[in-house]
Amino acid sequence: MLSRLIEACARNRFLVFTGVLLLTLAGIWSLNHLPLDALPDISDVQVIVHTAWNGEPPDVIEDQVTYPIVTSLLAAPRVKAVRAQTMFGDSYVFVIFEDRTDLYWARSRVIEYLQQIGGRLPENVHPSIGPDATGAGWVYEYAIVDKSHKHSLADLRSLQDWHLRYALETVPGVAEVASIGGFVRQYQVQLDPNKLLAYHIPLSTVIDRVKASTNEVGGRLLDLNGARYMIRGLGYLHSLNDLANVAVGSNNGTPVLLRNLGIVNFGPDIREGAAEWNGEGETVGGIVVMRDGQNALNVIEAVKQKLRDIAPSLPSGVEIMSGYDRSGLIRDSISTLQRDLLEEAAIVSLVIIVFLLHFRSALIAIVTLPIAVLISFIPMHLLGVSSNIMSLGGLALAVGVLVDAAIVMVENGYRRLSEYQEQHSGPVANDIRFQILIDAAKQVGPALFFSLLIVVVSFLPVFLLEAQEGRMFRPLAWTKTLAVASSSILAITLVPVLMTLLIRGRLRPERANPVSRFTQALYLPVLRFCLHHRVLAIVVNLVFLVVTLPLALRLGSQFMPPLFEGSALYMPTALPGIAIGQATALLGEQDRILRSFPEVESVFGSVGRSDSATDNAPLDMYDTIVMLKPRESWPPGMTYEKLTQNMDAKLQFPGLSNTWTMPVENRLDMELTGIKTPLGIKVQGPNLEGIERAASEIQAVLSDLPQVRSIFAERVAQGFYIDVEPDRAEAARYGLTIEDVQRAVTSGIGGQNIAENIEGRERYPISVRYERHFRDAPQRMLDVLIATPSEAQIPLGQVARVNFSRGPSMIRDEDGALTGYIYLDLKDANYGGFVAQATRQLQARLHLPAGYTFQWSGEYEFELRAKQRLKLILPIVFFVIFLLLYMVFHSVAEALVLIFPTIYALTGGLLLQYLLGYNFSVAVWVGYIALFGIAIETGVVMLVYLNEALDRRTQGGHSLSKADLEAAVMEGAVQRLRPKLMTVTAVLASLAPILWATGIGSDVMKPIAAPIVGGMITSTIHVLILVPIFFMMMKERMIKTPMNEENP
């Protein structure tokens, strides 16, 4: 069937050319419309429900907001998990949907379910769903820097909140612009409780009066003399004075104004974050969050253009500095890979030219390569796979394989034709040439097509990777698979056509090719020796196998090789409970130190969180982006590791623990909620103290087990609290309810934003609370006044106690239950066995109170699931490969022989991996999986030629002797050395640019390429020496027991 297709194509050149041209054009169009980004977004399909409740502690929000939201969302369709984090003033609920759920479908489900609980939430608390973006969408950050020092931080924040933010949100692809740092301006009414007492005005009256003091209304219309007048009632506050003059009561006809009762001024709202620029002082920052699935590069460019457009309208002295810009990373990494691709193409072309020494023939492979790549972009575009390091990396890995089919076919045609020319001196008739070439194509075509199919099939397990690694490597698997698939199609359509067009004229026979002669001269004696000492050869190979495999045990493992992003993220964390003042002071100091390094371009420091729902960092977490100068301008000998080591040494602050990471890596890490050690236990129950107790009991039980290296139960109570605890009996004595007492806490001590003043485009909250002096110490809080029903005002201290205590600084809620984590580290990797044993231990020795449960969690879950899948999938993949091989060779033994090269490929891969010092990671495994396919493919080429040589001998019909067999093997192996060396060299040479590349983005590809390169070398040796040996042994047995006459 394939043969007929080849013939049909060769006879319909025009149709083939038109088809290929159209596909190529479509490929070019797709290429230009692929979204660009540095790394694939590996986060789950998730919708964040963010609820801000200003000034409330975590446990209050958890009980009244988070819990109702979480429980309502649990039943939503396709929801995989609902996890929540509640912090001071904010609740974040992460609704994680099953993979491949449409984000917008998921979002509308969340809204639907949120609607059901509207009435169950406290007043003024409105959950909202986060932007249709993830933390990985933080593509650009900027700092608003005032060089003139004329504008306050509140001014800058207003500029950001009411001017820049909306301007930038209009840029297509921007999901949200978040603000961090500075002060949110607030009208503050600060009351003197003594004056309230003196004027007999309760706090609640003041609040009501202030609430009623700012609004504007309409009064419909009035027709006057044929004109129509619109009536409005004015009443917005225009200045602080307006607010200060609000009357709150009257004393014998004399109005009591707000200013008689205290101070009215502008002040900052509660701050949950701060930003800093270059160690020069606090600033206000903006974070541009890109919408899911957009072209990051385009979005960044558009944002920067918008910022340039806005620049003239900024107040004088104010500049916008780029704090983080991912476009550099994207552009650099893409261009690194593009350069790699070009270099690969060039090298591969060179290899072909050198081996064939016939430019026109080489041109066939050279032309097919880019066409195959371009065509593969069409399905990529349709699948929505973005163009990033991973997907381009897939192409880079495939390049060597892409040309294989073309090489082998061209070589075969070339050889056949040159042989014919040798036999029949003189010009070859066109139709004879045509027939020879088509026969040559038909001879190897099906085998090649199947071997490429094997390459595709053998790579399928990569698609089975799940969760993060799945999302990370799927683009790579897609592009590699698609490119190989398109090249295999081209191999049986375009290549035969091109052969008939381009292989013509005087062809130099292979014997005249110096490269072939040299390699054959090298290979022939070795092969002959090995064929005569087969046992020795096999033993040596086995020894090699045995020696190298233990290397695998010495290598570490990791999720992803680090990608050098051209910027560093300095992320120290303090213990929970740090105050904003202390945090900001440290931030400035850190930034000054960082700025002093000559390699640093700029430092944009921030601590705490911005107002984005994608940012759930607590105040104890710093997030300082250090943009580095290009590596070329660093002092000689400086490396990224060394630099961060030096920085780390200088940034030793007591009480902080440093972390160094890179922005994209960190954003991706932050996305992954849940336990990050391989093994952990989630303890769930109705209250946090109980969970903590249960967790410490579990810790006590499990720490006895010998496998446990360390076990650590997370402490829940990490935050500092001041509890105001009403005394119900005392309160009742004064006729007060608990609510009355609590209102004093919220309004008097806390201060609420009770109204919003509208000032043109801007809106500012108005808050009422006691003067600082009356609430800045626990003792003073006792003096906060409460109005009793008898109109007396009594101090809080008479009806409540004030205590210091510790409580949660952040509350986890998973699937509606409060959750505490226990982290476990084991000495061995037998997680399954340990879990079973530990569960038995816990069941025997642990008595959890009712309502408390524990469950095992951690990355081992993924691992177990992946293992389960692999158990099922790997045999199928091997069987499919086997079937494909069988379809090519119609022989079980030959198919089995071909599976062997994979093991030898593994040894070479391990060796090179060890020499280069790469840890085991998913990336490395992906490299191995790719390697297996290629190794089998080269073996296939070898067997094709061995069989061909044997066929020639048996064509005469006479039976084979052992000498015939050996001669056939020698002929098949040695004389057909060229195509095998060409394919191997093409693969090796094509990967060389990846290994020597140093640009941004190359770090990720190297660990994938290394096993392939190493494996190709060993598997080539195997293919060249062992496959002929096995082949010969097999055939010898067949000669002895000639029962399978039917077998060709």
Binding site: P576, Q652, M670, F712, E714, Y821, L883
Partner: protein
């Protein structure tokens, strides 16, 4: 394809299908449940084991352990450590209250006449007019008074006539009559001068001038011309404001801390920056039921009359608490139920101390237990120092100095004795298994053998990142020539805090802390 191929592949296909089916069957097959006649619950609650570990009481969440820490001057400077001292001080307690200015009741007088009559002329004719003592207020015509005066005059005349009478008792009777009339006038509170005038002129004074009995402000005036006045009529109230009362309302909880004669400062919004000093005159023996406050009365002299009755004032009571041990309030870290102070013992050594505190007084707080005078305490960045102490405690890296040796003396000499040369293989270490090499030499360069060397790697938890704290401990075995070797597994890349401890026969020879950055990602 020929027949053979078809046949073989069919056979193979059948085998594979059987295998796959078998696999699925095994994976999906439900566990066989013994048939039972009873209705089986879907889930059964756990049965409490009879010997359950009863650790409920023992494992109440404890406070994080703390250890002393040593900071270099640079690190101290980087977080801006400042210190203050524990000292004995005379301290006063402050109670703030509101109050109103009132007239000193002791300096308030009414003007009334003891006879009835008609007011004729009014001199002090406005409320809040200031009158001096003796200043005429008004004149009054009283027929009663005139009659009495006439009576008096008549009596005098009769006395003069009858004074020479020899009739026994006449002269004395007339004299008695005069005295009685004069006494009546006196009882009516007619000034002596007026009586004298009547006596001298022999005519009754019809319009009697009433003078102000005191100096002060007329706070109440009812005297109008032609007003008929009865003895019950209150004509004027005159208040002397040179001394006033301030009635402060003190909440009942605070009253116990006050006693008469305590000093008090009064401020009035009208006179910013000015304070009026006074003393507690008395603490009133009644709680105001409406306001739940106890009145505390201050006497304040008011020579320039700035304090006006009815004014709202703020009162600040100062009570003497005697000499107490105090520390700056900023030196105390309230860590839940625990109160901590960090004692700076010099040389960057900071030791956490649990303290028991008394009340806070201004910017200082009274220490009841845990500290002694003269100690230097950290007064800024306490939070960070507390954190560092917790981290170090968790790392288990702190090595207390050997008993008997003072910290300052032994610390430097120990490190001088032993040189520690620590390397890892690979260098820097990576996630996974690593080999550690250590070379120990004395300060003369002589290798030290046979010591117990342990290396602890520690990384603190990052709860926000879902990362637990991690420790790895490796005991290095002694090779020859001062070389030690051991292996350990690092669970993750990133910055590790390394503590090396060298012990020989139970004695700590040296400890060393350093930081390494392991490669290999999180």
């Amino acid at each position: 394809m020929n027949k053979y191929v078809v046949r073989t592949s069919l056979v193979w296909l059948a085998i594979v299908i059987c295998l796959v089916a078998a696999y699925f069957y095994r994976a999906r097959a439900p566990k066989l449940v013994a048939p039972s006649t009873e209705v089986q619950p879907v889930a059964i609650g756990p049965v409490a084991p009879q010997t359950a570990v009863n650790t409920h009481n023992a494992t109440t969440p404890a406070e994080a352990p703390l250890t002393p820490i040593v900071l270099t001057p640079e690190r101290m400077q980087s977080i801006g450590v400042e210190t203050g001292t524990v000292e004995w001080k005379q301290v006063n307690d402050d109670i703030r209250a509101t109050g109103t200015v009132d007239i000193d009741e002791r300096l308030l007088s009414y003007v009334q006449v003891r006879f009835s009559g008609y007011v004729r002329k009014v001199f002090a004719n406005a409320t809040y007019q200031y009158v001096k003592k003796g200043e005429p207020l008004f004149t009054i015509y009283s027929p009663e008074l005139v009659a009495t005066q006439n009576e008096y005059l008549l009596a005098r005349r009769n006395e003069a006539l009858l004074s020479h009478s020899n009739v026994d008792g006449v002269a004395s009777g007339a004299a008695a009559l005069t005295t009685a009339a004069e006494a009546r006038l006196r009882q009516w509170n007619i000034p002596e001068a007026e009586i004298a005038t009547v006596r001298e002129t022999g005519k009754p004074v019809s319009d009697l001038v009433i003078d102000s009995p005191v100096s002060g402000y007329i706070t109440e005036r009812n005297a109008l011309a032609n007003l008929y006045v009865e003895p019950t009529t209150r004509l004027y109230a005159i208040a002397d404001l040179s001394r006033i009362w301030v009635n402060a309302q003190v909440f009942q909880d605070d009253v116990g801390r006050l006693k008469p004669n305590d000093a008090a400062q009064t401020t009035v919004d009208a006179y910013p920056g000015r304070t009026f000093r006074g003393r507690i005159e008395s603490i009133l023996p009644q709680v105001d039921l409406a306001t739940r406050t106890v009145g505390v009365r201050l006497e304040i002299s008011n020579p320039d009359l700035r304090l006006k009755p009815g004014m709202f004032v703020n009162v600040d009571f100062r009570t003497n608490m005697g000499r107490r041990l105090v520390v700056p309030a900023s030196a105390i870290l309230q860590s839940g139920a625990r109160q901590l102070a960090f004692v700076d013992e010099g040389g960057g050594r900071l030791t956490p101390k649990d303290v028991v505190l008394g009340p806070r007084v201004g910017d200082e707080v009274i220490v009841l237990q845990g500290l002694s005078a003269g100690q230097r305490l950290v007064t800024s960045a306490n939070f960070l120092i507390d954190s560092e102490s917790q981290l170090q405690a968790a790392a288990g890296s702190y090595m207390p100095p050997p008993p008997g040796a003072s910290a300052a003396a032994t610390q430097p000499s120990q490190t001088a004795q032993v040189n520690i040369d620590f390397t890892t293989d690979p260098n820097p270490p990576r996630k996974g298994s690593n080999t550690f090499h250590l070379k120990l030499t004395g300060n003369t360069g002589k290798p030290i053998d046979g010591a117990d060397v342990s290396v602890t790697f520690f990384m603190p938890a990052m709860p926000a990142m879902g990362m637990a704290q991690m420790t790895t401990k490796a005991n290095l075995s002694s090779q020859s020539n001062g070389m030690y070797r051991g292996t350990g597994v690092l669970q993750t890349g990133g910055p590790w805090q390394v503590t090396i401890t060298v012990q020989k026969s139970g004695q700590v020879l040296a400890t060393r802390q350093l930081r390494v950055n392991a490669t290999g990602g999180m």
